[in-house]
Subunit: 171 residues, 2 copies
């Protein structure tokens, strides 16, 4: 099961850091690609630099028509929104089908069409918070925590420590 | 068990939106207060406006000495860092003691002292990602998902929908 993230409403400059956090969260929590609806080569470059050091072939790409991209996606479309059905109620069903997933995360207001295009509108709590938090918790529940144990096969590997930092360079 | 978040290294302007995401995530995932090491009344005001509509007495405050604040905290000090011990290995132990928790999240580089002041250095995965994601997943695991079902007793309440939005105003 491949998981692709679609980040809607990325505004260059204003959203640079938040969109980077969305992309890095997608990567660290087991997604294989993020697609933005606006070109931002800065975000792409920073993720790719990180890939190079820390491993995993996570991809960043862009689409000039998010509608076509969603309609053409072969798999389940999940839209994370505070107005949707509770995560705990639907995540089992979503995970059960091994079809690929497209997970849509917006920034501010999302076009109402998205609610209709999605197979599942899912709320990670019914309170306003953060698309980064929603994405992380959704993926953590979808993959049942296993995504955090994945080997990224990078050039740098962290050895967990009770105190301090230990990083090993793999040659 | 009360959970307080300490956000280190907040830089005014540059971190405004990210720090807001950290604060809103803390609130939505069951923490009762966030403390910043730099005054930013904009972040405080935006969280308080949201409290007013959506409920819950979540507090935003500031400290001019994070060291003293950590040292004076009565409870367990948890520092979220990609270099720490894996979440799945330590979260059971952390949750078992019903003492209050202080959860420290940094932005960029965190002073090495923090690793020593913490009772637990905990990694939410060993990959670089986002303090927002790390905080959300840590709290979700600590509270075992129950935090998302909490009643915030706000003036606005969302009624979960398969498609669309339904918000009820409580008078």
């Amino acid at each position: 099961m491949k998981v692709v993230i679609l980040r809607l409403g990325h505004r260059y400059a204003r959203d640079k850091r938040l969109s980077s956090h969305v992309a890095l969260t997608a990567r660290a929590f087991g997604a294989s690609e993020i697609v933005f609806d606006a070109v931002d080569s800065g975000v792409k470059q920073s993720v790719e630099r990180l890939n190079e050091l820390w491993g995993n072939g996570f991809r960043v790409s862009f689409t000039d028509s998010w509608r076509k991209f969603v309609e053409g996606f072969e798999g389940d479309v999940v839209h994370l929104t505070m107005y949707g059905l509770p995560l705990s109620k639907v995540v089992g069903k979503i995970g059960k089908s091994r079809r690929d997933k497209l997970v849509i995360v917006g920034s501010q207001k999302v076009p109402s069409e998205v609610y209709h295009l999605a197979d599942f509108n899912v709320s990670v709590g019914c309170q306003p918070h953060s698309e980064v938090a929603a994405l992380a918790v959704f993926l953590d529940r979808l993959f049942d925590g296993k995504e955090l144990l994945k080997n990224f096969k990078g050039r740098k590997v962290i050895v967990p420590q009770a105190v301090g930092k230990k990083v090993v360079d793999i040659n």
